[in-house]
Symmetry: C2
Subunit: 345 residues, 2 copies
């Protein structure tokens, strides 16, 4: 099978490396930036490099991994260069506008939920997509043979292909990813204003957690907000309506708070990180070493901690450690921790 990767950064390079794990796969790379293409060639992620998209020959799968702003044009160029039986896909984080603008006869959208803090082909990894959800957005008139080939290709990279309507995909991403980023920004802006001359008090970890993603990579996120403007706009409208409703009954919010508690439990228990998980909350003395002791004990028992939060009390003498572990491991983890005379709730 012959694969073309257009745009050879972290994601494109990782697609190339993942595809080449299999016998008989040949990957041709192209990049708008000749220097980036040179780096990819030097890093050994490609079998061949071409200076123009049209120079890539006999390609079965075209993967467009260029920046969001260049996606639509590059998809069109790939479709123009692609033979009749070839499939063109992309890895952009929003889908509806791109899918609407691209020819269904050759293109099906994609979005792998993978990435890293790092960027650049130097950090590309063959296993980047192992176990990752990879959304595919076929249209009703997408040729079945092309979808089947794309599905098989994505699975061969180690990912789990999940078909989703393009508009539903964008709504979902707007709600669980883009809106949280917007609200985190608003929170830091409001707090900075409210502080005035006061020093920020020790409010525990809730403010820090809520604003952890505030101001993330401004260049990338400005592109994401713009690309998903329609779905994010709807989320913002709904958020504004909810806040107006809350505003109107600030003295009657117990049921509303209860509803949020139930919804959060339901959301997280279906497995926010890819499988059913449970949170164990452990009351601990907050001395150096106690976190290590818990983590080490679970590590020795082969129990992976997928998420951890340490909420120290203000006096730093005690705190609560929240640990997320696979549901299958939860009972065993609880036993190991309570055996240390620590209270698990």
């Amino acid at each position: 099978m012959r694969v073309a990767v257009l745009g050879v950064g972290l994601i494109g390079g990782s697609v190339a490396l993942a595809a080449r794990r299999q016998d008989g796969v040949h990957v041709t790379g192209w990049d708008h930036d000749p220097a980036a293409l040179d780096r990819a060639t030097s890093a050994g992620v490609l079998d061949a490099a071409v200076a123009a998209i049209g120079d890539a020959r006999d390609i079965d799968v075209w993967v467009v991994a260029v920046p969001l702003a260049a996606l639509a044009d590059t998809v069109l160029a790939a479709c123009a260069a692609a033979g009749e039986a070839a499939i063109v896909t992309d890895v952009g984080s929003t889908k509806h506008a791109l899918v609407s603008a691209s020819p269904a006869a050759c293109y099906i959208g994609g979005h792998p939920l993978a990435g890293a803090e790092t960027a650049g082909v130097e950090h590309a990894r063959a296993d980047l997509f192992d176990g990752a959800t990879w959304y595919l957005t076929p249209q009703t008139d997408s040729p079945g043979v092309l979808y089947e080939r794309l599905h098989r290709f994505v699975a061969s990279l180690g990912a789990t292909p999940v078909a989703i309507d393009a508009a539903a995909h964008d709504r979902l991403m707007a709600a669980v990813s883009h809106l949280p980023h917007v609200l985190a920004n608003v929170l830091v802006q409001q707090a900075a204003l409210a502080l005035g001359g006061e020093t920020l008090p020790a409010t525990g970890p809730s403010f820090r957690d809520a604003t952890r993603v505030a101001g993330a990579n401004p260049e990338l996120w400005a592109q994401i907000y713009a690309a998903n403007g329609e779905a994010l706009g709807e989320q913002l409208d709904a958020t504004i309506r909810r806040l107006q409703d809350v505003r109107a009954r600030l003295d009657d919010l117990q049921d509303w708070q209860q509803d949020a508690a139930q919804r959060r439990r339901a959301l997280l228990e279906v497995g926010l990180t890819g499988g059913p998980e449970q949170e164990l909350r452990v009351a601990v003395p907050n001395r150096p070493g106690v976190v290590a002791d818990i983590a080490l004990t679970l590590g020795h028992a082969g129990i992976n901690i997928s998420d951890m939060s340490l909420a120290p009390s203000t006096d730093r003498r005690t705190g609560v450690v929240g640990l997320w572990v696979a549901s299958a491991d939860a009972a065993r983890a609880r036993d190991l921790i309570t055996a240390k005379d620590l209270l698990v709730t």
Copy 2:
């Protein structure tokens, strides 16, 4: 010195225990609920218990630690029972309405930033307030002699008294605590709706972090929202305006995102948990034991981790650990971690 504690739960009980660490302090307790008073007596936190507020005699400092809804009436009852040189204070989490409704001649508001996941006098601790900020809200006509006594009393409990205008206090709490709780609730409600029939994808830790406090203790938080309705309402109005502004320019948000990045850094670097801290971000293989290894190494070196977040990549093979340590320890922590061939950014 003679202290009266009205309401003997976790906070009231801890005030009693903290006060009684000093010689010559006598603490009398009262509670609306005779059973709670019995439990406090059994737990040994009090020197004496009275069945009626008026039965407490020759009290120098009255500390009202009843639920929010009963604060105003109990403060008035304490003022009625208090002698001329006695000070009445409280520990409620909002201040402006209570301060406005209470006589400045006998009462000065207070709010210790301390507490715990647990409730009830059984969990009261003498060191609960050690190192905690304890806001005091004197009015312009508060007698200086009473403020001085209260300041000294709060410091004697181990806390750091900080004077703040009652309205400014409520604005600050609304911005850094109450608004984050409201927005976390909205996020889970929006996500639940957007999901429809889809399974929640592995979106990394940002959604979980942003919604960690969603649905927290509905009974307590409904009271807090109501008690701080004025300041929280203003925060909600400002939030709605900001969201409408963002909504109107979704394709032009790079400067806005950049602004949020700078503000977050500025806020957190002044020390969200009580002192200057820095975040170290460590790229790690996400195998059992690696978190323990880092924590153990820092623990052995006497470096306390005040906050930690583990963000696994979707494939669970790598991740980024964010560690918050005191700025004074940051360089040493960085050296210890890089010595393990781990990348610190």
